[in-house]
Amino acid sequence: MWRSKHGILALTMALVAGVALAQSPKYRVGRTPTDEDTRALGVMVAPDGTGLPAGSGTAIEGKAVFTTRCASCHGAKGEGGDGPPLVGGKGTLATATPKRTVGSYWPYATTVWDYVNRAMPFNQPGTLSHDEVYAVAAYVLFLNDIVEEKQVLNARSLPLIKMPNRDGFVSDPRPDVPVRRPQ
């Protein structure tokens, strides 16, 4: 019985392989990327934390990094300047003057880490260490009252943070606007 179950499993796998075979490479161009090729491209982070690298940081550490690397555009406390504000706006999304910030709008904390790592500082992206990125993310979240000052952010703790506007997004309901048909 056990064996025959295995037989069915083998048959199923053969069928799956058959499907994969139908997708077998036809042109055989290119080559398999090495780990080094992938590493060279940098980190890509999913909202469940997939891709987050080793390292950690707290808001206390982040404040120092933020002051020297971020504050000239975003303000000492993330209030904004030449760059957009990163704090505030809580409770404004349904008003006539919504303020969309990390604290009021962004649905995932992982996005803060990913975006700082891939695109910030604006004129020197790619220059922060992974620890510094954890620390800056912690500081920005701390300024928004989302984490404690001493809370350690790392690959395990960051994806567990529930952002205030986590449930603020809906899928595309269009077409949604009633129109009169042309005569």
Partner: protein, 393 residues
């Protein structure tokens, strides 16, 4: 009468053959050249807002100066988030990995070995006409609608590439990443990639321009421009969207109830009159060709109606053929202007039966804070002195 003129002509020919010549000698023109340029008398250029960070921003196509449906590559709208990288195609690589059977690293030459396709496609920034949501509107069609352009794109069907790497069961999203300084990243449903996406290396008969993603970019037919990731360096197949900054914080539509719509990809049916349009002057009463552009990210434009009397009457405009799906369609209508103040507008209907809404209808549902995906009817006022301005409604 006729005879007298013949005699005069004969006298001129006979008497002046040796003595007379044209008033001025003519100089030779410019010699042949390696790469063409337009006439110095043509002045239409992309418009961009003054900025302390000109590496991040957008430039708008001068639609009022355009003819037909194609946008010259040099005038195609731009939207960059971290500047235009200078990429040597010999060193560029595209990696496809994640939920695939066979991760693959491709050079540009590898990609050019694959079967190619060409398609004329419009591209519209999700934020095009964003200024129309608020009270103030763009003074010209360039500033109100110029984040839309149309080119012929050449490349490889994404389906071919995905079949080459083998999609693993459960994969449902494709995460695309650029090689610009900010590593622009977007998540795109895999079904769209399998349907009609193109990995492009050519535009309007030559290689992509650097500002259009040289040497490789995505074309996501009919969907908001930000999904057409430029300078493409990586594709990751996944079972979830990666919730990147540019699909959460940006390119999401905030509704009056405080909820935001996310992954609102297709650009809905839209049209705008480019002549006469804001900033232009109609010289005086008489017959003119009224013209403009229409498009729909959901399919083919079926019809465009035009009003030249403030919406009392609508006439069907003539559409340029062939009308291609997900491409600009030029519309034209003979217009007799009587010299009196009036309001003109166009309204597009696409093959799904969707009709371009008025601005009031749009705002009644979505409010004025959504920022993106505006496709309302655009009104222009023609004053008695012929000057054309935008009308706030």
């Amino acid at each position: 009468m006729k005879r007298r003129r013949m005699l005069q002509l004969g006298a001129a020919l006979g008497g002046g053959l040796l003595a007379r010549k044209d008033a001025s000698a003519r100089e030779l023109g410019r010699p042949l050249g390696p790469y063409g340029q337009r006439s110095p008398f043509e002045k239409g250029v992309r418009w961009t807002r003054e900025s302390k960070t000109p590496e991040a921003g957008s430039s708008f196509t001068p639609l009022a100066e355009s003819h037909g449906i194609l946008t010259p590559s040099s005038l195609h709208y731009e939207r960059h988030h971290a500047g235009i990288p200078n990429i040597d195609p010999a060193r560029h690589r595209l990696v496809i990995q994640g939920m695939v059977e066979r991760p693959l690293l491709l050079t540009v030459d590898d990609i050019k070995r694959l079967p190619s396709i060409s398609r004329i496609l419009l591209m519209e920034c999700g934020g095009n006409s964003g200024s129309e949501w608020a009270k103030t509107t763009g003074p010209t069609v360039q500033r109100s609608h110029g984040l839309a352009s149309c080119s012929e794109w050449t490349g490889v069907s994404m389906r071919v590439l995905l079949e080459e790497v083998g999609v693993r069961p459960g994969a449902s999203w494709m995460i695309a990443e650029g090689a610009d300084a900010g590593r622009m990243q977007r998540s795109i449903p895999l079904a769209k990639a399998m349907d009609d996406m193109i990995l492009a290396y050519g535009q309007n008969g030559e290689a992509l321009r650097p500002e259009q993603g040289y040497p490789l970019r995505l074309l996501v037919p009919g969907w908001e421009g930000a999904t057409h990731v430029k300078w493409l360096q990586r594709i990751v197949l996944a079972d979830q969207p990666y919730q990147s900054r540019d699909e959460t914080s940006k390119y999401t539509d905030l509704m009056p109830d405080g909820k935001a719509r996310q992954f609102t990809f297709p650009m809905e049916a839209k049209s705008v009159i480019t002549y006469p349009s804001g900033g232009q002057t109609v010289p005086g009463p008489g017959l003119y060709e009224l013209t403009g552009l229409a498009w729909s990210g959901r399919g083919r434009v079926e019809r465009v109606d035009v009003t030249t009397d403030g919406g009392k009457n609508w006439q069907e405009a003539r559409l340029q053929e062939p009308r291609m799906r997900l491409a600009f369609v030029r519309f034209r209508l003979a217009w007799q202007w009587d010299g009196r103040e009036t309001t003109i507008a166009s309204r597009c209907t696409d093959e799904t039966g969707y009709v371009q809404p008025s601005r009031e209808s749009l705002i009644s549902v979505r409010g004025t804070n959504s920022g993106f995906h505006y496709n309302g009817i655009k009104l222009w006022k023609v004053a008695a002195n012929g000057s054309v301005t935008n009308v706030e409604v």
